[in-house]
Symmetry: C2
Subunit: 358 residues, 2 copies
C-alpha cells in the first residue's frame, strides 16, 4: 500500500496492523531481544505495507543509532567497481537491511590500522549498531584490537581465523578439493592455481587444501600464484604459468574476473580453451556465462551469503546469537572451459622451450 506521505502513519498504526504492542514494534526496529523472529518479520512487513519508518529520535536508544551497520573494506576503489563479488555481497546485505529500514555505512580503508581506528570511532561515536568484518588474515590484528570494545560484530571467514567473533563462513577447503578432484577425473595431472593475496586467511586455507588434495591424488605439486583479485593480476599470473617449461593443463582461479582474464591470455598465446587448457573460475557471476567459451566455475550464491551475514548481525545485536553459521559450500557448475586433459602425445601447441608438451 502506498500513501501520499509516510509521515501521517504512526507507530500505533504499525502495532495495530501487526497485532502487537507499540513496545514490540520499538524492540523489533531497535534489534533488541524480546520479540520472536516470526513476530519481528510480521512487524517489518506491517511497517513496509504502511510505508512507515521510525524517526531518528524514536530509534536511538541512549543516543546510539540502531539502524546503521558498518562495513570497512581494505580494497582499492577501482576494484570494488570491477569485481562482481563485493557488489553482490553488498546487495545481499542491503536486501536484509532495506526490509528492516536500516542502512549500510560503507568505507574504503588503506590498511588494517585505519580500519581498527575507524570501527572504534564509529562505535564510541554511537554511529553504528554493529559491524561486518571481512577479509580476515592469519593472526588478524582486528581480533585483539576490537574484541574488548563491546562492538557487536559478525566476521566473514573461517571460525579459526575469526574467533571470538561469531562468523558466517563457507567450507573453502572442501570446495577446493572438489575442484581438484573434478579436474583430476578429467585426466589432468598438472593443475595450477591462481589465488588471492598471500596474507588473506581464505587464500591460505585454499592453498593448503589445494596442496593436500594434489598429494592425496598423487598429482604433480604444481605452482600456486598468490596475487590480487584484478583483471591485470589474473592475466600476469596466467602468462607466467603458461610460459613455464612444464605448462599446466588446467588452472583454478580464486575469482571470476581473473579467470576471464586468463581465458584472454590463453587465446593470445594460441591455446584453445578447453582443448589445450581447462580453466575453472570461482564465485561465478554473469561474467562466466557470457564469455566464449562459457566458464566452468565453483559457484556460490554470494547475494544469499551477504543476506545471511546481515541476518546474523541483527541476531548478534539483539543478543540472540553468538555462534558460527555455515552457508552452502561452493559447488561445481561445469560449462565450456573445462574438458578432458590433452593427450601427452597429441600434436599441438608446444611449451615455451619448443619441446612437445609432455
Amino acid at each position: 500500500m502506498r500513501r501520499g506521505s509516510t509521515e501521517r502513519v504512526t507507530i500505533r498504526d504499525v502495532a495495530a496492523r501487526a497485532g502487537v504492542s507499540k513496545g514490540a514494534v520499538s524492540l523489533a526496529f531497535n534489534h533488541r531481544p524480546g520479540v520472536s523472529p516470526a513476530t519481528r518479520e510480521r512487524i517489518f512487513e506491517a511497517a513496509r505495507e504502511l510505508g512507515w519508518t521510525p524517526s531518528a529520535t524514536a530509534r536511538s536508544l541512549s543516543g546510539r543509532r540502531a539502524d546503521i551497520v558498518g562495513l570497512a573494506l581494505c580494497r582499492p576503489a577501482r576494484q570494488l567497481g570491477l569485481e562482481p563479488f563485493y557488489m553482490d555481497f553488498i546487495s545481499g546485505i542491503e536486501s536484509v537491511l532495506a526490509d528492516r529500514s536500516c542502512s549500510l555505512l560503507l568505507r574504503l580503508v588503506h590498511e588494517p590500522d585505519e580500519e581498527i581506528a575507524l570501527y572504534k570511532d564509529w562505535w564510541r561515536g554511537q554511529v553504528i549498531a554493529g559491524a561486518i568484518l571481512v577479509d580476515f588474515r592469519e593472526d588478524d590484528p582486528r581480533v585483539p584490537a576490537l574484541k574488548g570494545t563491546g562492538l557487536p560484530a559478525v566476521a566473514v571467514g573461517h571460525p579459526s581465523l575469526t574467533e571470538p567473533f561469531p562468523s558466517v563462513w563457507t567450507d573453502d577447503a572442501a570446495a577446493v578439493a572438489e575442484a581438484v578432484r573434478y579436474l583430476a577425473a578429467l585426466g589432468h595431472r598438472r593443475i595450477a592455481r591462481v589465488g588471492g593475496p598471500a596474507g588473506l586467511g581464505h587464500s591460505v586455507l585454499r592453498e593448503r587444501a589445494f596442496t593436500a588434495t594434489l598429494r592425496e591424488l598423487g598429482l604433480e605439486e604444481t605452482r600456486q600464484i598468490a596475487t590480487g583479485f584484478g583483471e591485470e593480476e589474473g592475466a600476469r599470473a596466467t602468462r607466467s604459468l603458461l610460459l613455464a617449461a612444464r605448462r599446466p593443463t588446467a588452472i583454478v582461479y580464486d575469482n571470476d574476473i581473473m579467470a576471464v582474464a586468463g581465458a584472454g591470455v590463453a587465446s593470445e598465446m594460441g591455446l584453445v580453451v578447453p582443448d589445450d587448457l581447462s580453466l575453472l573460475a570461482w564465485d561465478d557471476s554473469q561474467l562466466c556465462r557470457i564469455t566464449h567459451p562459457t566458464l566452468s566455475a565453483m559457484s556460490h550464491d554470494v547475494h544469499h551469503f551477504g543476506a545471511e551475514v546481515a541476518r546474523t548481525l541483527f541476531d548478534v545485536i539483539g543478543g540472540t546469537h553468538t555462534g558460527h553459521r555455515q552457508v552452502p559450500t561452493p559447488s561445481l557448475t561445469p560449462r565450456g572451459s573445462t574438458a578432458p586433459a590433452p593427450r601427452p602425445d597429441a600434436p599441438g601447441p608446444r611449451d615455451a622451450q619448443g619441446r612437445p608438451d609432455a
Copy 2:
C-alpha cells in the same frame, strides 16, 4: 608510511607535515571553506601518510557528523549486484571519500516517499553532512520536499530535472544523436531502442532525442521500449522487437547488461550479430569486452562520474559551489556488434511472418 598504531599520531603532526595550522586541518576535514583546494589536498595527503584519522568528537561541529554522506537508491537489491553501472559509480564516490576519511551511508528504498522521509531523518538526526540524489523523474517529488530543508545535496541528472539542486550531468541527448547517426551511416533505416523505466528523467530525454534524430535523418520512427535495466527485461524487450513484422536491423540499449541479454536472444532466434542485426550498448564495462562478438557501446567513465559527484558534494558542503557541472558526453566505442545494415534483398533470416526482411 605505516605505523603500528594510528592513535599516537595527532592533528599537530598532520598540521606540521602539511605546513599549516591545526585549524586548517580541522577546516579541511570538516569540509568547511577557508582552505584552498591545493592546501586541502596537501593536508589529506599528510594525514594519509601519517595514517591519521580525526576522531568522532573532534570532527563533529555542533553534533553533526561531517564525515558521512548519504545515498539512497530506489532499486531492487538484486539489481544493485548485477548492474555494473552502480557498482562503478559507487566505487568512484568511495575513491574520493576514502581520501578524505569519509564514509558513504547507503540505503535501498522502495519508493520516493520512503527516500524523502529517510533524507529528512538523516539530516535532522545529524547523521549526514550531505546527500547524493540520483534517478530523477520529471516533476520529481524530492525537489519540493527537500529544497527547503537545508540539506546540502548534489543531484545526478540534467539541470532541467534537478533545479534548484546543483547537479552533475552528462549530455544524454547528444550521445543518443551520435549513436543514431552512427548506425544510420552504416545504412540502418530501422533502428529500435530499449530504454530504462518510462518515468526516469534521463529515459525521457533519451527517448525524445532518439525520435528527434530519426526524424532529422528521415528514418523510420521505430519502436522504443521502456523497461527495467535487468537481464530479463532486456531479453524480453529484444524478443518483442525481433518478433515484429518489420524487424529492426539495429537496436540501441540504455545499458550494457540489457545489450548482453539482447545478444543472447538474437542468437536464440538464429540471427547473426552483426551480419543480421547490429547491437549498441550504453555505459560500457568489461561485460562488453568479453562477449562474443564484443559489444559496441556508448562509453563513459562511470567511475570518474561518481568521483566528480563526490567532489562536487564536498564543494557544496563547503559552500564553495552552487552551479552545475557537466562530465564528458558518452562517446562511441565501436566493437564487433555493429556493422553495415544487411542488404534488403540479401538471402538470409526472414522475419516472424516468414517474409523476406525488406
